[in-house]
Symmetry: C2
Subunit: 464 residues, 2 copies
Amino acid sequence: MVFDIEGEVNLNNFFKPKTIVVIGVSRNPNKVGHVIFKNILDGNFNGEVIPVNPKISQILHFKVYPSVSRIKKHIDLAIIAVPAKLVLNIVKQCNKKNIKDLLIISSGFGEVGNTILEQQLKELLNKNKIRAIGVNCLGILDSHNSLDTLFIPRYRLKRPSPGSISFVCQSGAVGAAILDIATEQGHKFSKFISYGNATNIDESDLLEYLSKDENTKVICLYVEGIKNGEKFYKTIKKVSKIKPIIALKGGLTKEGSEATISHTGALAGKKEVYFGIFKQAGVIRASTLEEMFNLASLVEKEIKFCGNRIQIITNGGGYGIISTDNISTSKNIKLASLSSTTVKKLKKLLPSVNIRNPLDLMGDATTDRYRIALESCIKDKNIDAILLIALYQTPLITTDIVEVISEFHRETLKPIIVISTGAEFTENLSESLEENNIPTFEFPENAISSIDKLMWYENKKRII
Amino acid sequence: MVFDIEGEVNLNNFFKPKTIVVIGVSRNPNKVGHVIFKNILDGNFNGEVIPVNPKISQILHFKVYPSVSRIKKHIDLAIIAVPAKLVLNIVKQCNKKNIKDLLIISSGFGEVGNTILEQQLKELLNKNKIRAIGVNCLGILDSHNSLDTLFIPRYRLKRPSPGSISFVCQSGAVGAAILDIATEQGHKFSKFISYGNATNIDESDLLEYLSKDENTKVICLYVEGIKNGEKFYKTIKKVSKIKPIIALKGGLTKEGSEATISHTGALAGKKEVYFGIFKQAGVIRASTLEEMFNLASLVEKEIKFCGNRIQIITNGGGYGIISTDNISTSKNIKLASLSSTTVKKLKKLLPSVNIRNPLDLMGDATTDRYRIALESCIKDKNIDAILLIALYQTPLITTDIVEVISEFHRETLKPIIVISTGAEFTENLSESLEENNIPTFEFPENAISSIDKLMWYENKKRII
């Protein structure tokens, strides 16, 4: 990869370009080049985008240039969506025109056994100090700069609002599917980067760049194979100290690893090795795709734990018990013990409630009971965070519980994480809480596992 | 508990009553007695329901009786929703009127330390051979008989369509929340039974009854404490041979177990003991609330595995790899090896595809590629089930893939389980598949863990 003079990766032309060319546009609306060109326009890109294809003269009322050499102005970024066999030639043309940043969408290289062609491309890029993301990738997206180069139509893949999660994803299809569902679930993104075969720019370069991106608070990483392990380890160790990396590794087993070769041309490596370096470097390891964004949502909402003692407040006894089981068997968090002052006060204010942890406000809990419990628990110095279970099925909880929780949330730094399970009525209330920046989960097990892992990271960061 | 002459539990009066009384109705629409009475009416109960309360004369245009003794006709089921201290007296009145089936909603017994009152009630019930579900419960629901006695308003808790899952749940709040979300996710139910403190009828009686209920194909069980362990073990061992029981145990840890005492008055017992008896008896153990219904959905759709060799078909390489990792590390399933005939045929028909397991049809996969792959894999005797990953974000998959998959599903007994991740566009296609009785999952990890556990059950059933 190409470092600039200071030895740092400068990828600004990828995310903040003023002028883009799309090489390989097509009049066929199903073709990759067409979709990319259209999405850049539909995404309200605030720079200029110029289509290139020697075979056509117009697309969507834009003049099409036969080649980059015929364009007079300076170009920051070229997006290449032509068949693999034409890529070398196009890259040479770009280099002649002094375009040093390329997003190469084209597939048909190492991942289908065409390793010689990929090696030739790699050398061409290195020799000419060209930075390239790809090959065999889905594109990039920057919500803050309204840049959308993905080759998937917007009706099939929802685009996220500007936010603080950046998602670096080796697999295009994993990236697309996860971006789509995460957006649906309300997660907000800074950047999405599909980087495919990592022919030139690799995951380490991207992580390095994102560590300095002020719009990025948390980095999600799906990675299959790492070619330069030493560079990767150094990078994740460095970046983890600045912001959390949540990583999922594909190809952990012998069988899975074999499958990666024909996917992104990478050899995946041993499970134990990866788990080891993730742990040492302070990378949070997601066990599942779903967990990756459960974890990210806590960071997105700037949840910071000052300690690991959790108090459960619930109106569902069973949920309290399941949560107790899960916290008791977790590695990094534990049940808080209410201070004697709190116990005394709550015994008086909530005489029908058994004052303990879990604090079961019972099936007939009112919003007011929650208010009383929350107030005392927030003041209690024996408690570092509150797991608040609110099952809205029971009629005595009124919908203004959303305001009650939100107000406490505004007034305290103590994390309040809310768990509610249910259909529309519940979903609407959870959405309101999310809008007020309070993390919500559908199931206690997911919430606790995410809190546990984030707590591990906070502890690790203090040590490393 | 009360067995009838043949030594079997007859709970027909609970689920198929012709005449019900609701004792403790109220004119206040927020009170339990009111909500229950209204829900029975709104649920289109096809028998007669009679309100009882000495203090009021009319509710919702119905004449209210001061006590059961004043009702002349025979009553099958009495629902009791009065304060705890009045319950003994009400039970005596019911007994005098020869009502032998009671659903006691009232709380305020063992769960709040009132063990003496609960003991007195227990003895009264036993002495008079009365069958009672409760105390401290949420009620029961039978979708096939339009019987809805839950004390939660319908706008807060969605009611399920008639189906084949029965859910036995010791905790009312867990039951309500899970029923709500499971219904939202499209699961269909036969019976839902919240049984609270199990003062008289316990989980074993309910399981025994459901094992003979022809509307029930699969039983989900959330249980906290078991009072009669020997009876429970004998029952689950017997019932598991007839239909699958999927169980989640609350109070597995010391801390969780302590919390159960103040919830349903039960002592929870050791984790190892429960895991051991579940395993021996062939009960499928759900690790999380979410997993319980993932598992149930496979049984609901009558998925039967004849063997454990799974073929992955995907258009997302990364999903194929993650699935491969998960299958390789699972306990009861394994990756299928395509027969040489299939390999030969597919190599010819899909020249650009690497013919292996996972079968990665690649990002530019068309619906036709899926058709070709499915056809060959269904014919291949080396394959027992197909994990079909369809990521609909890529434009070349057309929406008629739903018909293609559905048609194969109709023609074969080989299970096809579909995984798709995404927002509305994806959700709509998954819903169409579900309507055609094809199980769909959002994430590969959940699907594989459910298949793995169901496979364990199928194997176990063959042995025990």
